[in-house]
Symmetry: C2
Subunit: 312 residues, 2 copies
Amino acid sequence: MTLPTLGLVGLGKIARDQHIPAIAATGLFKLAAVVSPDGATAEGVPSFRSQADMLAALPGLDAVALCTPPAVRHGLTVEALRAGKHVLIEKPPAATLSELHDLAAEAETARRTLFTAWHSQFNPAVEETRRRLANADIRSVAITWKEDVRRWHPGQDWIFAAGGFGVFDPGINALSILTDILPAPVFVRAADLHVPANRDTPIAATLEMGAAPGSRIGRITADFDFLQQGEQTWSIVIHTADGRLDLTHGGTRLFADGVPVLAEPDTEYQRIYRHFHRLVTDGASDVDGRPLSLVADACMVGRWHRTDSFDW
Amino acid sequence: MTLPTLGLVGLGKIARDQHIPAIAATGLFKLAAVVSPDGATAEGVPSFRSQADMLAALPGLDAVALCTPPAVRHGLTVEALRAGKHVLIEKPPAATLSELHDLAAEAETARRTLFTAWHSQFNPAVEETRRRLANADIRSVAITWKEDVRRWHPGQDWIFAAGGFGVFDPGINALSILTDILPAPVFVRAADLHVPANRDTPIAATLEMGAAPGSRIGRITADFDFLQQGEQTWSIVIHTADGRLDLTHGGTRLFADGVPVLAEPDTEYQRIYRHFHRLVTDGASDVDGRPLSLVADACMVGRWHRTDSFDW
């Protein structure tokens, strides 16, 4: 059996650290080409300057995985779908919700798979948390997502340019877990967004959220910070009538009342490629707009504050 | 035949100027009650302090029309749908997109009609413009929506509070027309949002938009201003390969190359109640999230600027 072929578009940190190793480890797709506008290359496969060049050179390509900054994903996804390719999109899947709705419609018209890969959802600890919360009396959920942007996104100015998400770039991972583990829809009630004087996206944000009327879910808060020194924190603490759950390390470890329940090795991207392969095989799509909607909602109902300038 | 009964929730300017006269003029619903937390009344019908009081007192009520500020619409709509009522919601239908998606799901579960009444879409001139643009080569679309907030929303502080939409409160009417008349989806590419130093929502905004790749639609711009003195402007100018269309006066008048095509009397709310009645009769819903999505998108990708304080 021939493996479906895949082109990787965008050769940044996430592509090299996660996608290329996961594609190799799972063995479900054959990496056939990479695209880098800067002319970067990957071992053993041809490299193109644009997706259009790759699509023209390799007409038989089956799928593409998009690891570019979000601002250009809509155009590239439409181009790939219209060329008959299945598409996996890194998070966040588009710059705006209107774009994401359009991509879902384009995939349906093209009869191709579209997969919005919210990687944080692909951890066994997240799945186990969802199972434990399905019928729980949830008193509070507190997200703390604090990391050092200089360490994780060094020099990446696009993240602070308009449309670059700022601290929501990591924060949306927490929101993708939140919408995945809670048994009811979540809404942003209020938000405070702190934007450096010389930038256009938040470097810190706090959100007050709530669940649907009548659901047994209390206060939900999120605290996002991009200037965290020392220990980095990506945790969600949930208090239920039955005790406390700590989902830590970006959703990879779960503790119940302080006792470890699950601590899997970091295999989320392998799960992502297995899921993508299954979707392609089944002729299905998986488009989840909820995390992006919460960010847009926070920007719409939030209070914007100017804070100190940020430089690398 | 007995008319379906309707309760009007919120007795502000729009309820008195538009809803009550349109309900009377169309004769398709019987106004059975009004709700006003301030204890305001309307002639000939009982008045309640809360929707819950009204629902308890009039269990046979068929429908409600919500004319409250957007922040409380989600809770009231859920309450009404779960009580088995059909719901018409004034624009904007919810404070956030997550809320609107939830309302669509609630209406489906309750098997009741939900109608997001974007009133500007209900003008014959808007319909005629849509017809003329269906196969047109559209070179540019320029929205100019400039009004004096002191004249149209005197003292309404909620409009400048977080979640109050600011200049997007009128601007979303233009966006509801835009999404209705164009034959392809629209996306926000960039935005500049000007927020008074002592407020939380924009008092002016400009948007750069574009249509789907491959559509024959050029540059789309919007210029929203809440401090317009003198003549008030709510117009959309469209240049096509065949000439110029001017959709003016909030979508009520259409000119082709300067020649009047349509100038209907202001009957949009009568059309709204006829449409609501038809939806109820057909057991259908009409939920249009596109205008709200464009506002959320503009807030997410926009650059925020502080401008002079605003006081009434």
